[in-house]
């Protein structure tokens, strides 16, 4: 091939420009530390980088969610622990009050303490989380969950349970509505509640009753027509059964065995309620009323005895209720904790994948840079030398 004088210059320029463009690319890679700086550098990688970056960000949000849930649930757990403590204390006080040796004044003192404890329960029910939201108010986080209306404490929240996304496909509730915890205690034993009417004139005291068969379908009343004969009346007022009570024996009614101590009088009534619900505050209020009952006489003593027994059963129900919620909260706390570990591992994996795809391999890039520089230098040198050859030098 014939070579013109300019061919040499042109081919040198063309080669140099290409090499310099590649050199620039390597330099940019080294300066930014990234292999992919524009989508066109590697479109497939650019898309994956975008997805991984997005994944990392979402991950961060999930971790924040898990952390927020963990904080809120810890506060809830703490509050529930204190509720348990108060219920325990009430139980202790009930047992202490339930001895014949205590006089009215001492019981009044205990009543004061129970009142204080009950006030403490309301305060715990109105606990706030770290952001000032009422913890037990469901979705109605802006107003106290519980308020006193006269003697009663009412629930002002709803049953909303806020779910937080703590992992790709895992969500947990960051709280529990307060009505389930505070307002929905089963006060009786084994799903039914047997109570002696406070206006009873006999000395019948309800003992540790138990189910012997299937629970009755509806509420019943055991009404003594004489000191030993009784009718069982349903909620419609009709007599469904009759029987005779033998002192010292148990009352066996509709699948329930009720040990009855003392002797009932004609006109005494005992109520059997199926799946009853009471609020913790009502249980405390009832206990206070029993403690402040200063009437004398065997009927009053039996009434107090019945009251204390009922309070003990109810407080046990309250404790069971709180501890079941606490168990659930603990499980969710563990899930949040667990998810944090999973997230940490997953994030590490995402980050290392991202780095493999996006980041430059310095050793490789530097050796490439050196090769490119050497190539340029050789091209320059050879061009300069070949330029020196000219026949005109010899003319």
């Amino acid at each position: 091939m014939r070579i013109s004088s300019n061919t040499l210059a042109r081919s040198y320029l063309a080669v140099t420009q290409r090499n310099q463009a590649e050199l620039l690319r390597t330099q940019i890679q080294l300066a930014t530390g990234r292999r992919v700086n524009r989508p066109s550098d590697d479109p497939g990688a650019a898309v994956r980088i975008e997805a991984l970056t997005r994944g990392l960000k979402t991950h961060e949000v999930h971790e924040q969610n898990a952390e927020a849930a963990r904080r809120r649930l810890s506060i809830e757990d703490e509050a529930l622990g204190q509720v348990s403590g108060i219920l325990d204390r009430m139980r202790e006080l009930t047992i202490r009050a339930n001895t014949a040796v205590l006089d009215d004044v001492s019981r009044a003192g205990i009543a004061d303490e129970v009142r204080q404890l009950s006030e403490g329960l309301v305060q715990l029910g109105n606990s706030k989380d770290g952001r000032g939201e009422y913890l037990f108010a469901g979705f109605r986080v802006g107003q106290p969950a519980f308020a006193r209306q006269g003697d009663e404490v009412v629930y002002q929240g709803d049953q909303g349970r806020r779910q937080l996304q703590i992992g790709e496909s895992r969500q947990i509730a960051d709280g529990d509505p307060g009505d389930k915890i505070f307002m929905s205690v089963n006060p009786g034993r084994t799903g039914v509640l047997v109570t002696a009417d406070p206006s009873n004139t006999g000395t019948g005291v309800v003992g540790a009753y138990a189910l012997t068969g299937p629970a009755p379908a509806g509420d019943l009343t055991v009404s003594f027509t004489t000191a030993s004969d009784y009718d069982v009346i349903d909620s419609g007022g009709s007599i469904v059964a009759s029987g005779t009570f033998v002192a010292g024996d148990s009352l066996n009614v509709a699948g329930i065995s009720v040990p009855l101590q003392g002797s009932p009088a004609a006109g005494d009534e005992f109520a059997i309620a199926v799946a009853p619900r009471q609020s913790i505050f009502q249980i405390a209020g009832d206990l206070v009323a029993v403690l402040e009952d200063s009437d004398a006489g065997p009927a009053a003593a039996a009434r107090r005895q019945n009251g204390f027994n009922a309070a003990l059963n109810a407080l046990d129900g309250g404790l069971a209720n709180v501890s079941s919620v606490r168990t659930d909260v603990g499980a969710r706390l563990a899930a949040a904790e667990d998810q944090r570990d999973i997230n940490d591992g997953f994030r590490l994996q995402l980050e290392s994948t991202l780095s493999t795809i996006r980041d430059v391999d310095y050793a490789e890039a530097i050796s490439k840079l050196e090769a490119q520089l050497a190539g340029l230098e050789v091209a320059q040198r050879s061009y300069a030398q070949s330029r020196q050859l000219s026949l005109f030098d010899f003319l």
Binding site: S40, G138, D158
Partner: protein
């Protein structure tokens, strides 16, 4: 004797012509487009003197340029291709950098926005969290507008490229016509003028694909597009830029008097590259950007409308944006008005269409590919044309040849705005809330009440749901009337009524009751905020398989791949062009060593001829001395 003198003189003159040509070559060694010239010399017709022919010297037959028209044409074609790719690549790189830049790219803003909604779901009553959602939504809307305006800037650049290319083409055409004119006025064909003309043709080829025809009189004719004459002998014609038929803000290339748009015949060169970029990358990218904006706005609006804001009002639109628009061509004769709306977002493609009327029927054409798209329906308001997720209605009478351009999605990107009214206005909560009666014996907890039809007139009626048994329930109004009669239930079922859907977590027992009531004061409810995110991350397009984030990745990949391909093709084509020009250069280029050799040859010939004259002189003196 005179023969000797004459022969030597002819040799002297010929050698001088040779030296002059060599020096001309040397002088033009760096002149662009110069072809080396060569003296063709031949022995003169000898004289017969009885014994034989005696030579009578040498003469210059011609001075020609060394030139291979095939190679030149090949180089021109290579240049056309290279500038075409170079223009495409130049513009594509602009877009590539735009999408690759994290500070202006879409991906970061979208995930920041989604993350802010996630943070709101964590703390739905917090005003700062709500404010952050609004700020991030504004950043996102701003990002769409910025990207779109950057793309619009690229479009303006294309306009100015077209404008200057056309001006350049016209002046080149004039110059070529001028040289044609001068060539016909000289005897023979001056090589330097031909070189100049070739060079102008080469420059023209860089702007646009041309075909060159050599005429018998030494002139050339140049054609562009589908046969539009640019140069015809001594006459040059011109191209013009004119506003697009549908969109006066963009330029097209026209020809003739009055100028009309050259229908898709302009390929190759800088003009072809810019037009191709606009048609195949810029327009689809803007449409895709619009589709993403529309997708985000539509999904958020639809879900946001099912929620309740902090003040207890139903959520309205979260975003506002401009919907599709139809533009009539400037020359339409009929009175038809086209209305285009999105019928089914998941089927909408990121395309712009042309709707043309002819022979009593309408035809829909995808502008980028030029292919026709089938439509169903009659075009009336009751039965609109349906195609690719669009509903098109025609009112008024169209004339034959009327055309409309449908910009379906691209207006959305530039017009996306946050419509929600302050941080209080974000609807993160459901307007209805469910609760389970405390006396329930089943394990079912009240779950989320999701509104599905915010327009249901009975939406906010409080109702009670009472289970007859674990598999049957009835719904009662607040007055206790049975609204539905028994409805079958199996665990995991949701209960739908009055435009809402209520989920139960767990198993209800007989006589359990639940209520769904208006959500009063439920500022801690995050159910709609969570739903917003779920919907935004769901597959929304392409029949439900493609999410907004997929679309963004797709757009990124499309731009990246187009740029990468353009870059690879450009590199290859640059090498081809280099090669083609080297080939021309190898035939026509000046080699100084060769010229030095030629110089020496002619110098020696000159010296020898001069010596021959000296010999003639000596001979002459000898004769004179003999007769003295």
């Amino acid at each position: 004797m005179s023969g000797l003198l004459n022969n030597s003189l002819s040799a002297l003159l010929t050698a001088r012509a040779g030296i002059a040509t060599v020096s001309h070559n040397i002088a033009n060694v760096n002149t662009d487009g110069f072809s080396r010239q060569r003296v063709s010399q031949a022995a003169r017709q000898p004289e017969y003197n009885g014994a034989g022919y005696i030579g009578i010297g040498v003469s210059v037959v011609g001075i020609d340029r060394v030139y291979d028209s095939f190679l030149v044409e090949q180089a021109r074609a290579a240049a056309t291709n290279e500038t075409y790719l170079s223009a495409f690549h130049d513009l594509a790189t602009r877009v590539d950098q735009l999408f690759g830049n994290e500070a202006v790219g879409l991906s970061g803003a979208t995930s920041d926005f989604f993350d802010s909604v996630d943070a709101l779901a964590r703390d739905p009553s917090s005003i700062p969290a709500r404010q952050t959602v609004i700020s991030q939504a504004q950043v996102l809307a701003q990002r769409f507008a910025t990207l779109d305006s950057q793309l619009a800037t690229t479009e303006e650049e294309i306009d100015s490229r077209l404008y200057s290319s056309v001006a350049n083409i016209n002046s080149l055409a004039d110059s070529i016509a001028n040289i044609n004119d001068r060539i016909t006025s000289f005897p023979g064909t001056p090589a330097d003028l031909q070189d100049q003309r070739d060079q102008l043709l080469g420059k023209l080829a860089e702007e646009i694909d041309i075909s060159v025809l050599d005429n018998a009189d030494g002139t050339v004719s140049v054609f562009v597009g589908n046969g539009q004459s640019l140069v015809n002998g001594p006459v040059g014609y011109s191209l013009t830029t004119l506003p697009d038929l549908f969109d006066p803000s963009r330029l097209q290339v026209g020809y003739g008097e009055p100028p009309t748009q050259i229908p898709d015949g302009l390929a190759g060169g800088a003009i072809g590259g810019a037009l191709e970029f606009r048609r195949t990358l810029l327009d689809p990218a803007r449409a895709e950007l619009g589709r993403i904006a529309t997708g985000i706005a539509e999904t958020f609006n639809a879900t946001h409308a099912t929620g309740m804001d902090l003040s207890g009002a139903m959520g309205g639109d979260f975003f506002s944006y401009d919907g599709p628009e139809a533009r009539a061509a400037s020359g339409n004769a009929g009175a038809a008005v086209i209305n285009v709306a999105i019928d089914n977002l998941s089927d909408v493609e990121p395309r712009n269409y042309e709707l043309a009327y002819g022979g009593g029927s309408w035809q829909l054409i995808d502008i980028a590919s030029g292919s026709a798209i089938g439509m169903t329906g009659s075009g009336s308001a009751a039965d609109p044309f349906l195609a690719e997720g669009l509903a098109i209605t025609v009112s008024g009478a169209a004339a034959d040849g009327d055309r409309f351009q449908l910009k379906t999605l691209s207006p959305a990107a530039s017009s996306l705005k946050v419509a929600v009214n302050g941080p209080q206005g974000i609807a993160a909560a459901s307007p209805m809330v469910g609760s389970a009666a405390l006396a329930n014996t089943g394990s079912a907890l009240a779950g989320i009440v999701a509104v599905e039809d915010p327009g249901n007139p009975a939406l906010s009626d409080a109702v009670n749901i009472v289970f007859d048994d674990p598999t049957t329930y009835r719904i009662f109004d607040s007055g206790g009337s049975d609204l539905t009669g028994p409805i079958a239930f199996s665990p995991g079922d949701d209960i739908s009524f009055n435009g809402w859907r209520f989920s139960l977590e767990g198993q209800p027992a007989g006589a359990d009751s639940f209520s769904v009531t208006p959500n009063v004061g439920g500022t801690g409810d995050n159910s709609v905020a969570r739903r917003l995110l779920e919907v935004a991350r769901e597959g929304l397009f392409g029949g439900g398989n493609t999410s907004i984030e997929d679309l963004q990745s797709g757009l990124l990949a499309k731009v990246g791949i187009a740029t990468q391909q353009a870059e690879a093709s450009l590199q290859a084509q640059s090498a081809v062009r280099d090669q083609a020009e080297m080939s021309v250069e190898s035939v026509s280029g000046v080699n100084l060593d060769e010229e030095a050799v030629n110089l020496m040859r002619y110098q020696e010939a000159y010296q020898a001829a001069a010596k021959a004259i000296a010999v003639a002189d000596t001979l002459f003196q000898t004769v004179l001395d003999a007769v003295r």
